[in-house]
């Protein structure tokens, strides 16, 4: 079970924080969160709203990982070591 939990966490984080794959394969009509953050930061120099988006993503992802760990009755340090 710790193996399954850590596998889920790693896959989830890699997918959620990925920029390249959705950008290249997602097509023109798609809107991705990481792409949005990148646009706010680099293209528009709108660091405030970019930071807000980034913070939202961070909180959401931490929350989901935390809930997942609680539901499977694991702790982070047990899962990865």
């Amino acid at each position: 079970m710790p193996g399954i939990a850590s596998g889920c966490i790693v896959v989830f984080m890699l997918t959620l924080g990925n920029y390249l794959t959705p950008n290249l394969l997602g097509g023109k009509d798609s809107l991705w969160f990481t792409e949005q953050i990148y646009t706010q930061f680099i293209t528009r120099f709108n660091w405030e709203s970019g930071s807000a988006f980034g913070f939202l993503l961070l909180v959401l992802s931490s929350l989901i990982v935390w809930i997942g760990l609680k539901l499977s009755r694991q702790t982070l340090s047990e899962t990865v070591s």
Partner: protein, 286 residues
Amino acid sequence: MIPSIPQPRFYKGIYTGYIALFFIYLSAPLIVVGVFAFNDSLFPSMPWEGATLKWFFGSEGPYIGIFNDSKLLESVGVSAFVALCVTLLSVTVGTCNAFLFERAQFPGKNLLYVVALSPLVIPGVILGISILVFSNAIANGVEETIGWDLDFLRPGLFLVIIGQFAFITTITTLVISARLRKFDISLEEAALNLGATQQAALWTITIPFLKPALVGAGIVAFLMSFENFNTTLMLVGSDAPLTIAMFDRLKQGSTPVLNALSLLLMIVSGGLALLSVFVQRDKNTS
């Protein structure tokens, strides 16, 4: 599935088919990329116009081979430099971390361990922008108060190295501390008992024992730094590492040069991965 227990032929067939499908799914895109590196056409797609090595060695016209494309070669150099720095830093710090978390006892150790592991659960993009914002705030503050322009805190190679180092250290820490946990501490005690100094015991007993993990962690760190995109994208300045350069090139429209480069990268990283497998195998027998 336990191999020693006989299975019905039907299940065995399904299992084999599943494994085969999985590996086809993994390797088919790579094979296609590799094959089209040899296509004698300006576009890395069908139709097949015949085999050529122009995309590797070509020097004139639209056929600029990878070995004559100075920009791509330069970005390979930048990436290798960054990866080397990150490897050295993260293996050193990872070893120290492993000793800290495996040997020492101190209040707040569990909290510190969770903090050290947290880059695993932070998306790479977030790590990139937070380092960018943080260093930029410091640079601006310093410039306003004392008037120094700290150029290395602006987006550039230094920040790229710091950013990759921040999360690759976590990986090296995990790899090295897994090996250190298997170390029999009485060996070190015996060395100390026989009159070795602390330093000598460390360098003659512990570090040689850790060597496979150090080399393996180094290879993993190098590869992860080399292929990292998300964190690098946010921190990059004017010197583009390879992944960024390839991405920019891809946005302009790709030529088989990128395929040729990808093929070379696959071969090199595959070789490194094989090397790390052999290093790990030594670990099991010794």
